[in-house]
């Protein structure tokens, strides 16, 4: 008995201290960028959203392992669940990251607070592959600090078997007929934006009266809502437990795989879009290797693997034109968009004002 236990521990110990190596799925012949092994033996710290990078599961490309093999640079990879969590960690000054992938409005805040370092495009030759539609956006007009990684929009997802007619407006999320069958975001900014779109208010308004108006509308929604959700939305929509929800366009395609009754529409009032871009924080410790990593993310085969894994819109032209890409010309990801608004970073007083309203909405009942 003791011997069994000891040998089990020994095997475990050997595994813990050994690095497991297998094929990464990278095709070195097809690389378009230039990579050097000058930084072999160094380390970079990469901080990214959870499940936002192809990791070798289901035969996909193992991006971090491939980069390590190609350049000899060790990648420490960690995840965050929100822009705000990432910001808090970065702001604490306790940890230095070399590559982060925040969203638009957060990039604006980081630039304003001098927390990002300018990118040296001499190291990022693949940046030429970026779709010009996503360059020069409001948060970084000169693209000095950020390179787009993934783009997305919000849309209305509905179950054709459970709705009477196909919705075309965000107003359906207040429709009494679907009482207790409607799901909305459990994050304040996205939830507010839907009410603002219905009311025709700018999603970046700094007028507190307009925020009050949107809050009033959201309070009325409580009556028909089944719940406010984030990732639980997948289970509920796939199982047909809810008829209508607002969520990210790419995630609709994931749900569609499990439930063919689901349909997607961009409502007539327009929608919001976001872009998550790769940046280098000001306190980074391994600048050139970080740029090399960003270049690797833009590599056509890597960007395609990530686009397939994450199922959001890829801002990479090589991916968009790749015939073997599963979502090539997909109308949800690459179709004609309605009027799109971007979230900008709001002043702190507006932020705390709408967060207080949000708390009220959550507790509100008639």
């Amino acid at each position: 008995m003791k011997k069994v236990l000891l040998s089990a521990l020994l095997i475990l110990g050997l595994w813990l201290f050994s690095a497991c190596g297998s094929g990464t799925g990278l095709d070195p012949e097809a690389l378009t960028g230039t990579y050097s092994r000058d930084y072999a033996g160094t380390t970079i710290n990469v901080f990214n959203w959870g499940e936002y990078l192809s990791d070798g599961s289901e035969g996909s490309l193992d991006v971090n392992a491939a980069f390590e093999e190609l350049t000899g640079v060790t990648v420490n990879y960690a995840n965050y669940e929100s822009n705000e969590a990432m910001y808090a960690k970065l702001k604490s000054g306790a940890v230095s990251y070399d590559v982060i992938i925040p969203s638009d409005y957060m990039i604006q805040r980081l630039i304003n607070e001098n927390m990002l370092r300018e990118l040296d495009y001499g190291f990022i030759d693949n940046a030429a592959l970026t779709d010009p539609d996503y360059l020069g956006l409001y948060f970084d007009p000169g693209d000095a600090y950020s390179v787009p990684y993934m783009v997305g929009t919000v849309g209305l997802i509905y179950n054709t078997a459970l709705v009477e007619e196909a919705p075309t407006s965000w107003r359906v999320m207040w429709d009494e007929r679907y009482s207790n069958d409607i799901l909305t975001f459990n994050n304040s900014r996205d939830a507010f934006s839907i009410a603002q779109l219905v009311l025709g208010i700018d999603v970046n308004t700094t007028d507190k009266a307009e925020w009050d108006q949107a809050a009033e509308l959201l309070k009325q929604q409580n009556r028909v809502l089944q719940g406010r959700v984030m990732d639980e939305v997948f289970n509920k929509m796939e199982a047909g437990n809810a008829a209508i929800c607002a969520y990210y366009a790419g995630d609709y395609l994931i749900m569609l795989e499990e439930n063919e009754d689901l349909a997607f529409v961009y409502p007539e009032e327009g929608t919001t879009a976001y872009v998550d871009s790769a940046c280098v924080p000001a306190n980074c410790q391994n600048y050139e290797a970080a740029l090399m990593y960003i270049n690797f993310l833009l590599e056509p085969q890597v960007a395609r693997a990530n686009a397939e894994y994450v199922v959001y819109t890829s801002p990479n032209l090589a991916v968009q034109q790749d015939d073997s890409y599963s979502f090539k010309d997909d109308p949800v990801l690459y179709g004609e968009l309605p009027t799109v608004q971007w979230f900008t970073d709001l002043p702190a007083d507006v932020r705390s004002y709408y967060e207080a309203l949000w708390e009220e909405i959550l507790l509100y009942s008639e």
Partner: protein, 271 residues
């Protein structure tokens, strides 16, 4: 008769509450499809997938490594502390030390986590480090919250032994060190083992304290799973959790069997 039925009913209810969530998770880990709500058929697909993601494997390895090191260090330190506390002549002093060592256990995790982070950042700034938070701070944090559990498991065992045990052993020719390793330690072994195991499992599933004290270089599994709130948690996580659950269950059974045997052997020696 009625009270017996009630007893059975309450026990059943308790087991349902404890194990139903686990059973649901284990059930869905065998799901053929990607969905975590619609069951489409039995398959071992996700058990294969667990091992194909290098990210998940790194996180799992980090978690086990951290749990193993922190629980072992905490066990050594905690056992020494327990021996020290038991030998204290002043009752007031030993009570005070016990209270102080219990603080990390009674404190809400979030308070422990935030205050440890502040301390690490303060020291890091003082030393001018670029990364004040790293694997080492995570390890220190885990040892800290593991310690009281080890002490609490070892101390009662020590109190059960005869307080003249060390003296007797030394009388019979042991050095102080021999007396501890050959006489005292075997007598309290079950407590030490229980403390180690408890520390190991606590470290394995800690989220809150790790969230505040981890650095860029070392991500554990609970942290990784928490970051999955934007997209859906895939069933390979269910498969992995099932593997961990079964492993811990087996470990517990083996440890219990070993403990029983050693206690029987110890009693036989006594007679």
């Amino acid at each position: 008769m009625r009270s017996r039925a009630l007893e059975v009913a309450l026990n059943t209810l308790m087991f349902v509450f404890l194990y139903a969530p686990l059973l649901v998770m284990i059930f869905f880990s065998f799901n053929a499809s990607k969905s975590t709500s619609v069951f489409t058929g039995i398959s071992l697909h996700w058990y294969g997938e667990v091992f194909s993601s290098s990210d998940t494997m790194t996180a799992l390895r980090n978690t086990l490594l951290l749990a193993l090191i922190s629980s072992t260090v905490a066990t050594v330190m905690g056992t020494m502390a327990a021996v020290g506390i038991q030998r204290m002549r002043s009752r007031f002093l030993s009570q005070t030390v016990m209270t102080v060592t219990n603080i990390p256990m009674m404190n809400p995790d979030i308070v422990t986590g935030v205050s440890l982070m502040l301390l690490f950042v303060f020291i890091g700034r003082f030393l001018g480090l670029a990364n004040s938070l790293s694997f080492w701070t995570l390890l220190i944090a885990h040892i800290t919250f593991n310690l009281p559990y080890v002490i609490l498991n070892v101390l009662p065992k020590l109190r059960q032994t005869d307080k003249h045990l060390t003296d007797a052993a030394m009388d019979l020719g042991c050095t102080r060190r021999q007396a501890f390793f050959k006489v005292v330690l075997p007598a309290i072994r079950s407590g030490v083992m229980a403390g180690w195991l408890m520390a190991f499992t606590l470290s394995l599933d800690d989220f809150v304290i790790s969230y505040y004290t981890n650095g860029a270089d070392f991500q554990t599994l609970p942290l990784k799973i928490f970051a999955m709130t934007k997209k859906t948690v895939k069933p390979d996580m269910y498969a992995l959790s099932t593997i961990i659950f079964v492993t811990i269950l087996l470990l517990l059974i083996v440890v219990n069997l070993l403990q029983q045997r050693s206690e029987e052997a110890y009693e036989r020696n006594d007679q």
